[in-house]
């Protein structure tokens, strides 16, 4: 690979940059995975406040352990393993048992809309408006764009797999997904201006 080739595994590249001292690289990993980590922790502890604390703890631990990550490995899998282990450790502590029981399910990696974390009433209203708009914008997409987008985002398929399933060239798939994302983004622009939900 030379300097102009696509990275492919951007996570490993970000880990390498973070280890080298570029804090913003780790910030990107936090932005990318915070909801997935929170949803994973939430399945175990079922408490919004504890989920929030443990989610923070997961990223702190990951940051401190970055140098031990095998950069040929899967960062997401490593991160979520740490999240699950931290949540289980929390529940094993006698004072934390309460009435919580781990509810790890066979469908653990299928994240449902019930995985919500401590929304304030204002955030709840904003979220309902935002996610309702996303559904509406996706529903309004041309069928081929909607299908390709959902294969990518919901099923997590790579472009090659989508290309095979839709029997069209990879570049055509990329183009459909790009147009779909742009259309959804345009529809959300008024809800997600720079003064709304700036968190990073």
């Amino acid at each position: 690979m030379n300097g102009s080739d696509p990275l492919g595994d951007v996570d490993s590249a970000l880990v390498a940059r973070a280890i080298a001292g570029e804090e913003v690289a780790f910030e990107l990993l936090v932005v990318k995975y915070q909801r997935r980590v929170a949803a994973t922790v939430r399945r175990f502890v079922r408490d919004d406040r504890i989920t929030e604390e443990l989610t923070q703890d997961v990223f702190i631990r990951v940051y401190l352990a970055l140098a031990s990550f095998d950069q040929a490995g899967n960062f997401q899998a490593w991160l979520l393993t740490i999240a699950r282990n931290l949540a289980k450790t929390y529940l094993r502590s006698p004072q934390n048992r309460l009435d919580d029981q781990p509810r790890e399910s066979a469908a653990e990696d299928t994240i449902g809309s019930s995985d919500r974390v401590a929304p304030s009433p204002e955030e709840e209203a904003m979220a309902q408006q935002l996610f309702g708009r996303i559904d509406a914008e996706v529903a309004a997409l041309p069928e081929v764009q909607r299908t390709a987008l959902l294969m990518r985002e919901l099923e997590g398929l790579d472009y090659g797999s989508i290309s095979e399933r839709l029997a069209m060239p990879v570049n055509t798939v990329k183009s459909h997904i790009h147009r779909a994302r742009e259309a959804v983004a345009l529809g959300l622009r008024e809800l997600l201006g720079p003064t709304r939900d700036r968190r990073w």
Partner: protein, 70 residues
């Protein structure tokens, strides 16, 4: 395709990633673009929560940690 999508898809080259990371240090609009793109992707994947301030809280703790270590 915009930079946020290209970043999250792993379509940036190493050289482009270097430039983007440098810009992120002072470009709030680019940070918004990336966090919004990630929110859209998470929402489509069924993770329908707002940021809830996790990023800022986590990053604040990391900075405290860094300060303590120095």
């Amino acid at each position: 395709m915009n930079e946020a999508s290209r970043l999250l898809d792993g379509d940036l080259s190493a050289a482009e990633l270097t430039i983007l990371l440098e810009r992120l240090k002072h470009d709030a609009a680019l940070r918004d673009e990336i966090s919004t793109e990630q929110l859209r992707r998470d929402a489509l994947a069924g993770m329908r929560t707002m940021d809830n301030g996790y990023s800022l809280q986590i990053l604040a703790r990391l900075r405290e940690l860094g300060a303590q270590r120095r």
